[in-house]
Amino acid sequence: MPATKIAAKPSLKQIGLSKETLLGLYTNLLKTRMLDERFRKLFRQGRFAGTYFSAVGQEATTVGPTYGLRDEDIIAPSHREIGAAVTKGIPLVHIVAQIYARINSPDKGKTHPCHYGWREKGFISPSSTLAGQTVTGTGCAMGFQIQKKDNVVIAFFGEGATARGGWHEAVNYAGIHKLPIIYVCQNNLWAESVPAHRQAGIKDFSDRAKAYGFPGITIDGNDVVLVHKTAAKAIERARNGEGPTLIECKTYRWYGHSEIDPADYRREEEIIEWKKGDPIARAENLLLDLGIHTSKKREAMVEQINQEIDEAVAACEKEKYAEPEEAYNDVYSENFPVRRDDY
């Protein structure tokens, strides 16, 4: 269900988050939205190849849990986690370079758009097989447990990915060993073109946690405050060795699966209804109601973010692609060169 409006004017105390945290969440939401919309525009202009997987409408589900993590904590993403990439602190220029597949991208242009990753910030560049990183991310959590470190992992995936066998094997294992991992399911109601009721016989995907012996909770995924607070509690549990949590965030992807998908399998009324619950507008209204934000401040923020994006895009468009022979690198460690043929 789309979220309802916030009724009475809240206070910071009622919200239970500091002004700094609220502004931090909001800034990352806004930045994510603006970057995402810019990428869509750039793709339509033919400025980069492949396709683009927009996350517009779902930003709170990734910004909320990621905000406040340590560098050593791991994000095991899928392909719609631009909000987590921004919030975890991957520099904007790396994110843009990844989309543009330029030489300054951390992956040197090898993997395709929206598969961001930067080791320094614990962000795994994903494979495209859905729930793939749910498995490896769970392995990272197993590693932290063996090493007796109190780092945590957040695995992001859509509701569609929870139908995969590997997802269940990983989640089952995390339940047995109480691994320090938070599973964030972004239920955007559609697995590409297949509606949720054709993906599972349950209504709330958090019910899946019951079978694995740890808590599952379903929340309004477009309420960034609720998402952040729910995740923060789960993160604390995980750090304390109390095990995993599955958080299902009900949300909606405004556009197609990727930019080449017109998404005409959805009803127009459904889209309109969900757009009313825009997570960025809701966060903004809350900040205005709390008196910690003004429309003037917003203008300044938008201007600054636009400038940052302009600079990153300009820098990347000037960058070269890696030499074609770069294709031979990063197959094995240095002692094992790959076979090269002269044609």
Binding site: D107, S127, G132, C140, M142, Q147, E169, A170, F336
Partner: protein, 327 residues
């Protein structure tokens, strides 16, 4: 001095490497309390505890994929797949994660892990306890694939795999576990990945194989010696990346080649070796490159006569060698 079997060499190596490096840990089905279905991991749980010798649920996807994740955060996992036949659920994690992690992240993340896979026929295992499937991994760059034929190599290759920086599929042929034994040096040693071994020198023809088939090849070579055929026998040891130089040097000398592999012929490792020799060493060849392989049927059938009919053996190899010699 005491002779060590191939399986004892593996167990010893696991002990030594876990003592040497506390990043090394094991995960797999029945490897802890039970000590492994073939006892390869016997005693390790008592020595290193359940945090480093993990009895997993029946979850091949997780055994492989969880190990990839643990390797990413700095550990040295040694997952075990109990039978090669049951590795198919792990393929997504092995092919899409382990093999491509370094590549897709531009070298930021690496996957130093050793997947131990028990494999092979001639043990009455039937369709689902006799497979090897090495060709699937051989055809995936980013993975290294090894298959030792001797206790020395079992130990040396396992050490190299554990200490290396790449994902390695380490095939243990169950037929060899307790059949081959030899004295091993006391001191630490490794066998480099990517280097074949010339086991027997010869002038007339080169026989190339690996794993259990190396033993069938050397039997054939010894029988042929009595008939006046001097065969050079090469044990590839590493299937990927394979040692072209050693094989090519031998081809230069003998000009005739027979390739032996236990798995089905079509799409197998030896098809690639054959193609490479033909492509790059054609001027040196005096006869067609020939192969002796398992049958092109779905897997090794159970009934003993059919199993033996499936597998290459010394007689089959010797017959093909003689045919090539007569070309």
């Amino acid at each position: 001095m005491k002779k060590t079997t191939l399986i004892e060499a593996i167990t010893q190596t696991l002990f030594e490497e876990m003592e040497r490096d506390d990043r090394v840990f094991l995960i797999g089905q029945d490897i802890g309390l039970y000590g492994g279905v073939f006892k390869a991991t016997k005693g390790l749980l008592d020595r290193f505890g359940p945090e480093r010798v993990i009895d997993s649920p029946i979850s091949e996807v997780y055994i492989a994929g969880g190990s990839v994740g643990a390797a990413m955060v700095g550990l040295r996992p040694i997952p075990e797949i109990q039978f090669a036949d049951f590795i198919t659920p792990s393929m997504d994690q092995i092919i899409q994660q382990a093999a491509k992690l370094r590549y897709r992240t531009g070298g930021q993340w690496t996957c130093p892990m050793t997947i131990r896979v028990c494999c092979g026929g001639d043990v009455g295992g039937g369709l689902y306890h006799s497979q090897i499937n090495e060709q699937w991994f051989f055809s995936q760059p980013g993975l290294q694939v090894v298959m030792p034929a001797t206790p020395y190599d079992a130990k040396g290759l396992l050490k190299s795999a554990i200490r290396g920086e790449d994902p390695v599929i380490y095939f243990e042929h169950k037929r060899l576990y307790r059949w081959v034994k030899e004295e091993l040096p006391e001191d630490d040693f490794t066998v480099p990945i990517g280097k074949a071994a010339v086991r027997k020198e010869g002038d007339d023809i080169t026989i190339v194989s690996y794993g259990f088939m190396y033993h069938r090849s050397i039997e054939a070579a010894q029988a042929l010696e009595k008939e006046g055929v001097s065969a050079e026998v090469i044990d590839m040891r590493t299937i990927s990346p394979w040692d072209r130089e050693t094989i090519y040097e031998s081809v230069k000398k003998t000009s005739k080649v027979v390739l032996v592999q236990e798995s089905s012929k079509t799409g197998g490792v030896m098809g690639e070796v054959s193609a490479s020799i033909t492509e790059e060493m054609f001027d040196y060849l005096d006869a067609p490159v020939s192969r002796v392989c398992g049958l092109d049927v779905p897997a090794i059938p159970f009934a003993p006569p059919m199993e033996h009919f499936f597998l290459p053996n010394a007689e089959k190899i010797a017959r093909v060698v003689k045919k090539v010699m007569e070309y």
